[in-house]
């Protein structure tokens, strides 16, 4: 199981404990003994196994250029989550959301700047597909049915980044 998990985490995937897809892996990681033993192997390789708030991820110390790459890759997701929160103001991990509801509320709740930055189209159906694909591909949402999605615990990873920015930072 160690190597299976390493393979998943090394792709930058965040394993959420409320994910159906990675249920076995999450269960295994939730066992403290397993977590500690895997972490000690990974530490020797220069990685850190991080487990917090219902999700696990692999990390390592970053060089300056990596830091920039890291943030750029996260910018789009922060934007997408901000748009999602404009549509579902109460959105939280574990919630179930529907694509059809997203479409219904989109016109009144869309942030044109965010949508323009994320997708090169004005077509609502195309935007919806791309939007849900982006979040599903990055394991923020998990599909339950054609219309319904589960919000994975890993959303908090991105929200924690926002939370971590000191209060005065965005008002300076």
């Amino acid at each position: 199981m160690e190597s299976v998990i390493f393979e998943i985490l090394s792709k930058g995937i965040i394993i959420s404990t409320n994910s159906s897809k990675f249920q076995k892996e999450a269960m295994w990681l939730m066992d403290e003994e397993n977590f500690v033993s895997l972490n000690s192997i990974l530490n020797k390789l220069g990685f850190y196994l991080v487990g917090e708030n219902g999700y696990f991820y692999l990390s390592k110390d970053l060089k300056t250029d990596e830091m920039e790459k890291y943030f750029n890759s996260h910018k789009l997701l922060i934007l997408a989550i901000a748009q999602l929160k404009k549509i579902f103001v109460h959105l939280d991990r574990g919630h179930k959301i529907k694509k059809s509801e997203f479409i219904k509320r989109f016109e009144t709740k869309k942030d044109e700047k965010i949508i323009k930055a994320l997708f090169n189209t004005d077509d609502l159906m195309e935007i919806t597909e791309k939007f849900f694909n982006l979040l599903e591909k990055n394991y923020v949402l998990e599909s339950i049915s054609k219309d319904e999605y589960r919000v994975l615990n890993s959303i908090n990873y991105y929200l924690d980044i926002v939370e971590a920015i000191s209060e005065g930072e965005n008002n300076e």
């Binding site: 160690e2 190597s3 299976v4 390493f6 393979e7 985490l9 090394s10 792709k11 930058g12 995937i13 965040i14 192997i41 020797k44 390789l45 220069g46 990685f47 850190y48 991080v50 917090e52 991820y57 692999l58 990390s59 390592k60 110390d61 970053l62 990596e66 830091m67 920039e68 790459k69 890291y70 943030f71 910018k75 922060i78 934007l79 989550i81 901000a82 748009q83 929160k85 404009k86 579902f88 103001v89 109460h90 919630h95 942030d111 700047k113 965010i114 930055a117 990873y157 929200l159 924690d160 980044i161 926002v162 971590a164 920015i165 000191s166 209060e167 930072e169 965005n170 008002n171 300076e172």
Partner: protein, 348 residues
């Protein structure tokens, strides 16, 4: 009309009443229901009588945001007046009236308790309305509940004044037990409402912050990048350790591994049982090759590639297996190979 006839009428039109309760208004209803006052026509629509809606909502412990918390002030003032009158007259009519009013206030308090609880649950479970609206509503309910708490004390005092009359004593004693229970409930409701307001305000503040930061990203504000570069996260150690394929360079690893195998087959082999992999690659022979290796991962890739190109994608698992089982034989260097995996040597 007798009560039983009213019940029959309600039963006969139960589907229409149910529809009206759910939809709030109807375009047409049978005339009988209008004549009896169950519906009123306003403009082009028929609306259910408020008395009926209150009756149903109370029994079903429901409340919507239009519910106004009752304080029974008028009933209590009337009870005070009747008490003075009864002290002198001892009239049976006044006595019956007092009983009716005491019962009305007591039942009303119980019904109000149910509906306040329903209102709080409605607020807590609301996932549709805007946060500003919910905070405003919750603050209004909180104000009303605080008022209830204050007025309940007055009600209890008035009830207690009737203890001196033998004819009311048992009744008052009975209801006072429940009234104390209701006051305990009120106390819990206050706590829940304050918690809800505080959590919702926190959620609103957070959303505003998220939207603010999204704007900074959109405006390519370098403060965000600068902030990250200078690692000024105020949160745990997350600043220093982050997940990203950047450090693993998985794509690069895949390209190199892809030289030995086709992508589709790589994917297929991922699900292979690890015991099988160990058996196929002949672990003992691999260990012989790995002994003295300057870069164990690269040695594994070369070795496994020669045996079965389809198994190259299993190298990471084999590598982790070796690290796990031959820890004492290994030296972990600070260098990284072209797969961006740390160079691990076999101890000489």
């Amino acid at each position: 009309m007798r009560h039983i006839e009213l019940l029959n009428l309600i039963c006969r039109y139960k589907k229409i009443l149910d529809e009206a309760y759910k939809q709030k208004k109807l375009i047409s209803v049978p005339n009988e229901l209008v004549e009896i006052g169950l519906f009123s026509k306003i403009g082009n629509f028929y609306y259910l009588n408020e008395v009926y809606l209150n009756f149903v909502d109370t029994l079903l412990a429901r409340a919507d945001f239009s519910y106004v918390v009752e304080d029974f002030e008028k009933e209590i003032n009337k009870l005070k007046e009747l008490k003075i009158e009864y002290e002198t007259s001892k009239s049976s009519i006044v006595r019956d009236l007092i009983f009716t009013l005491l019962n009305k206030v007591y039942q009303g308090m119980k019904n109000r308790d149910k509906r306040v609880l329903a209102l709080i649950e409605k607020l807590e479970n609301d996932e549709i309305n805007e946060l500003d609206f919910l905070i405003k509503e919750a603050k209004n309910v909180l104000k009303s509940v605080e008022e209830i708490m204050r007025k309940n004390e007055i009600i209890v005092k008035v009830f207690e004044e009737f203890l001196k009359f033998k004819e009311f004593r048992d009744f008052i004693k009975d209801i006072l037990v429940d009234v104390v229970e209701l006051s305990i409930n009120i106390d819990a409701y206050l706590k829940r409402l304050r918690e809800f307001i505080s959590q919702t305000e926190k959620k609103r503040r957070f959303n505003q912050k998220l939207f603010g930061i999204a704007n900074m990203i959109l405006n390519e504000d370098n403060k965000i990048d600068k902030f990250l570069e200078t690692k000024r996260f105020a949160y745990k150690q997350k600043i220093e350790v982050i997940p990203d394929s950047a450090y693993m360079d998985y794509e690069k690893a895949k390209v190199i591994i892809g030289k030995f195998t086709k992508e589709k087959k790589v994917k297929k082999s991922k699900v292979k049982n690890f015991e099988e992999v160990i058996e196929i690659i002949d672990l003992k022979k691999l260990i012989k090759n790995v002994k003295g290796s300057e870069d164990i991962f690269k040695t594994i890739v070369d070795y496994v590639g020669e045996i079965d190109k389809e198994l190259v994608s299993e190298c990471v698992r084999v590598f982790v297996y070796i690290l796990n089982h031959f820890d004492k034989e290994l030296i972990y260097t600070n260098e990284y190979n072209e797969f961006n995996i740390r160079v691990v040597k076999w101890r000489a």
